[in-house]
Symmetry: C2
Subunit: 195 residues, 2 copies
């Protein structure tokens, strides 16, 4: 595998309900194989055990990414049925990779699920390097780590990322960052209330 | 203008020599207009004054970006002639936007050059969110600021970025980061020698 690509995976649960989660699989340059590393306890991991098919999406929609990272999608994005697996494609994604899990290694906290891409599609261009979008990605990762990283460190990092978002971002990036900041503020208040 | 997009601009100097430089223009969502902000003293700005046409490229090639940022392209990348302006297209870019400068405002240190996109082309997909690629972009920006940012701050930031590059990057990202680290180490030695 060549590098880690951050995107969004859709899977189906036992009741055929769609689950949407950010995922950073290791991929090869040809994007023919994905190594997914879901936590065994996470919904995506459980779903792929029951139904080993899903769709990995490359997208630059950081608002969707931030909401999915915190499990706070108020509503599902527009979806289309996948054609080569049983699953769903996010209509506004840039590219999608329908995959089938070929092997599962559960010896670790995080499963190692090797998946084969069985179908690929292109929907629109990925915008390119926008520092604000990436600042949101980094902020979203930090926001999911409030349980084990010092809150003060996360807040300090958010301050730096905020400067980049305001300087280089558009409406979507600002809305996504504000959403993450609200989450962080809520977390800070609840930690204070506990201590 | 909607947001800032980091890419690479090719321009021509008075002797028709190609100049390649990173540039983060403000762009509209449709990518029909670019607001370029070159420093008046910079080659790109001087070139566009003499010949107000060029090509803006969206690319995920961070090794090219890092080298261009430090003005250390050992050799030019493969190029093709532009079709609607007098200029050159980087063959390995993801997308290119041939532009013509329509107005120049020189009242500031950095010119404000409003450009119209007169032709657009798509060559290959932009990979998507790879944290290592973006870490290289941030490192390249820092590496161009050693004259006015405290070196210790930059070095500290590089240490954090390095972790991301090693964890999520491939060969290209690691090579680009190593190149920037060497530059930073050289800068540190020369500053020590002076002080």
């Amino acid at each position: 595998m060549a590098f880690i690509l951050e995107g969004i995976v859709t899977t189906l649960d036992a009741d055929q309900r769609i689950h949407i989660a950010p995922m950073g699989p290791a991929v090869d340059r040809q994007m023919e194989r994905l190594m997914l590393r879901p936590f065994k306890t996470a919904q995506t991991g459980r779903n792929l055990k029951a139904h080993p098919e899903g769709v990995f999406h490359v997208t630059d929609d950081v608002l969707l990414l931030a909401r999915a990272a915190l499990g706070k999608l108020d509503q599902l994005p527009a979806l289309n049925p996948a054609s080569h697996v049983r699953g769903s494609i996010i209509s506004d994604a840039c590219r999608f990779y329908e995959f089938r899990v070929r092997s599962v290694d559960d010896s670790d906290d995080r499963s190692r699920m090797e998946a084969e891409v069985v179908h690929f599609g292109r929907l629109r261009d990925f915008v390119g390097f926008n520092r604000a979008k990436h600042a949101v990605v980094e902020a979203a990762i930090l926001a999911t780590r409030t349980d084990f990283l010092p809150l003060a460190d996360i807040q300090k990092e958010f301050q730096k990322l905020r400067v980049i978002v305001l300087k280089t971002g558009g409406d979507q990036e600002k809305a996504a960052f504000a959403f993450l900041e609200e989450h962080l503020a809520r977390t800070a208040r609840s930690k204070e209330a506990v201590s």
